[in-house]
């Protein structure tokens, strides 16, 4: 589609907006509506705005852009929509159109674009940046900057260097004495997971090996591109996707442990629009869904705790994975899994959303933390790096710090 001076949606995106019959059942499931009660901050309202945009009825597209930017893209509305509106697709198409025809101006927008493409998507630079952040954190510089409003308060704690080391690439074999299975698994390691949650990757590797799977870690893989898709740069995401398709070309199963990445990887068919993308999408699995389907052969180590499992949006709404993590956690000796209110509601992290829309993200994060505090748990489990950071931050802000861990960590067998 040729670019006009004003964002206009293509006919396919317009058609998606017509699936909505305005029944409103999505409103209560929308986190931004819950904290604002504004129609413009609801899926139903945003669909009307996107539809009007596509029909050329919006006089000043810049005026409605904030409402579309405020969307977390959590897709809770898709789970509840009886009419089957593909909201995520519609929103991502609209954002891409805005980025193409009217790119955001200003320092913040420039910084986001630069960071996403030139740092986050390039592992060596990302590692260097995170090493710097660690220094800033240790020296108190980060705290000072946050107090001065120069840095966000929601920066995660940076682990020491030894915990930031990458997962060794190449082939890993199950330890001797473990009965081998016929499936070889390729691990997707992503961008921030490696330096910030390397221990989760190592746990995932350990669990897969202990359960008899051969594991490879392809060296040439890249960031999945989720953050680029969500911020309206599918063109750049496509470049990464093509490299990932090539990196995993001779693997049968691709397993990931970050719900956000997994959702995007599973939608490479739509992103790339070709057979290679579709093939890749078919062979990828979330680690918990994969282990549940294959069955555990190694009993997890005992963990005496009262825990809540909080569904990452891109796992429950994006991939339809809900029961599998719970079923596996039920096999952890000593673990008491308790229900808390609204486990499928977004925590407000949403990629870099919490950095861009601090006020909304904080209100949404507080709602999440309150439900967890009310459930009176001493451990929180969730399978996405952003959610782990956000929930940890908000539990601490409420004065109820609790360990927040990835469910796969609890599946590691006793030594």
């Amino acid at each position: 589609m040729a670019c006009s001076s004003e964002p206009r949606l293509d006919p396919a995106a317009h058609a998606r907006s017509l699936d909505c019959v305005h029944c409103g059942l999505c409103l209560p499931t929308c986190p931004t509506w819950q904290v604002t009660q504004l129609e413009t901050e609801s899926p139903r309202g945003r669909i009307l705005l996107m539809r009007a945009l596509a029909e050329g009825r919006v006089a000043d597209p810049a005026a409605i852009r904030p409402f579309l930017d405020h969307c977390l893209d959590c897709r809770a509305c898709e789970t509840t929509c009886p009419s089957g509106v593909h909201y995520g697709e519609l929103l991502e198409a609209t954002r891409a159109e805005y980025e193409r025809c009217a790119p955001q101006r200003g320092v913040k927008a420039w910084l986001v674009r630069t960071l996403l493409w030139h740092v986050v998507a390039r592992q060596p630079r990302l590692r260097a940046a995170i090493a710097l952040l660690r220094h800033a954190e240790r020296s108190g510089l980060l705290r000072l900057a946050a107090r001065l409003g120069l840095a966000p308060r929601s920066v995660p704690r940076i682990p020491p260097r030894r915990d930031r080391r990458p997962l060794p690439t190449g082939l890993h074999l199950p330890p001797p004495g473990v009965r081998r299975r016929s499936v070889r698994v390729a691990l997707f390691t992503g961008c921030v997971m490696e330096p910030l949650f390397g221990h989760v990757h190592r746990a995932m590797l350990q669990v897969l090996l202990a359960n008899g799977f051969e594991v490879t870690v392809p060296a040439t893989q890249r960031c999945c591109g989720a953050l680029l898709v969500h911020s309206g740069r599918p063109d750049r995401a496509r470049q990464l996707a093509q490299q990932n398709v090539a990196a995993f070309a001779d693997c049968d199963v691709v397993v990931d442990d970050a719900a956000g990445c997994g959702c995007t990887l599973g939608e490479y068919d739509r992103l790339l629009g070709d057979d290679a993308g579709a093939q890749f999408a078919r062979k990828r699995r979330d680690v918990m869904a994969f282990l549940h389907a294959e069955g555990l052969s190694a009993t997890p180590a005992e963990c005496r705790a009262r825990a809540a499992y909080d569904d990452p949006c891109h796992l429950c709404h994006g991939q339809g994975v809900r029961l599998q993590p719970r079923a596996l956690l039920a096999q952890v000796p000593g673990l008491e899994l308790v229900a808390h209110a609204r486990p499928e509601e977004c925590c407000g992290s949403a990629g870099i959303y919490h950095l861009l829309h601090g006020e909304l993200a904080t209100a949404i994060g507080r709602r999440k933390a309150e439900t967890l505090v009310a459930a009176d748990v001493d451990l929180v489990l969730t399978g996405n790096p952003g959610c782990m950071i956000q929930i940890d931050n908000h539990l601490r802000a409420l004065g109820h710090p609790r360990p927040v861990r990835h469910p796969v960590e609890l599946l590691v067998p006793a030594p």
């Binding site: 019959v21 209560p28 413009t40 009307l48 009825r57 005026a63 009419s83």
Partner: protein, 489 residues
Amino acid sequence: MLRRVPPLERDLVRLLGAPRVLSQPDALLAWECDGFTVHRSRPRAVVLPETTAEVQAVVRLLHAARVPFVPRGAGTCLSGGPTAGGETVVLDLARMRRVLQISTADLFAVVQPGVVNLDLTAAVRHLGLHYAPDPSSQSVCTIGGNLAENSGGPHCFKYGMTTDHVLGALVVLPDGELARLGGPAGTRPPHGLDLPGLFCGSEGTFGIATEITVRLCRDPQSVRTLLFPFAAMRDACRTVSDIVGAGVVPAALEILDQATIRAVEASVYRAGYPLEAKAVLLVELDGPTEVTAEEAAEVRAFAQQNGALRIEEATDAAERARLWKGRKGAFGAMGRLATDLYVLDGVVPRTRLEEALERITAIGARHGVVLNNVFHAGDGNLHPNISFDGRDPDATARTIAAGHEILRVCVELGGSITGEHGVGSEKLDHIGMMFTATDLAVMARVRAVFDRDGLCNPGKALPQRAACAEVAKWPQMVARVLGEPEAGR
């Protein structure tokens, strides 16, 4: 981009602060319609008051400036009630969502108008109580909107409509005065006019309720939910007549036709309804355990006599929720069939259901429209749904024409043009089928008692002509009757 802010908007901002006044025209597109998407128009501005005092201040300001206004709940109305165009300002009450008081002894709750129907039940569930009227949109629609529309729902067959559950309301009248209608607590006033009854169903034309006192019901000792698929719609309708004729009063009696079943089963609300059935009948019985057991046996027998293909009964709360899920998501699921959906709301005497459905199907065929039926069979409240493409003027015209004929059939059979969705802007052309000019004039006079200046949701619920004439005449009539000089406000 800088815009010149008109004085009214400036005053509204002064009252509520800029974040709670929306007047940028493009943003207002989000409020351009409710669930009746045929009528679309964007309001002049939207304001979000949070207290009675703020509603009052806004209404006073608008009244003084002679600017029309409309209260809005969750925008799930199906008759265009809260759709506002031109100069009209929308008072969006979604932020007034506090439950103010719960009385377990006197069985009532006082709520703000933006409280979501299901949230009220959730707030009292731990006390063994619930709020009975349950529109399909109950997870999002508000008590204020329910009051304005006198909303119904599946369980209204046994428990009555919203009007049977509203005890009183604090109302900001269209001139900004505050009036308390009905009892402040759990009883109706011992004498005098039933003003809450009058206000209920006035479709936002009598003022804005800012505190609503509603009845709470005790949860029944037992609930039994049964599902019967049938090979013919006729058999389902006869079963309903048999059940009611035998004196059984189920909590709910719902029927979905085959097209609806298929749409629901293709959606996230799939409930396991059999696709081969021409109709499914959903029956819920509640009350003391022995009574529901006896009634369930009777209902099963009637269904079997009428040729039910099988019998399914929920054995626990999760099963019950599953059987209901399909019914609650039915409207939205119809969105899968075409871009737009026209939900009709005709009522016929229960004994004429079969005949009505046959004639409705014939009307649909004659106009070449895609038509499904899902309805509250116990009340004879039909919801023929027409799926159409709103971008096609011819299809839209055929849809509207078919709707008009269907409502005429309902009236001919001794029923009504609306059971629970209200007249709104949708049925202004149909209201003459039911009421004489005199009837309408009386209604317009009653309306003028509340809104003599015709500012509160004008152009809704009553044909403009009847309303205008009476509104214009009303002050002189008051003056004549009371022998007072006409008071200017």
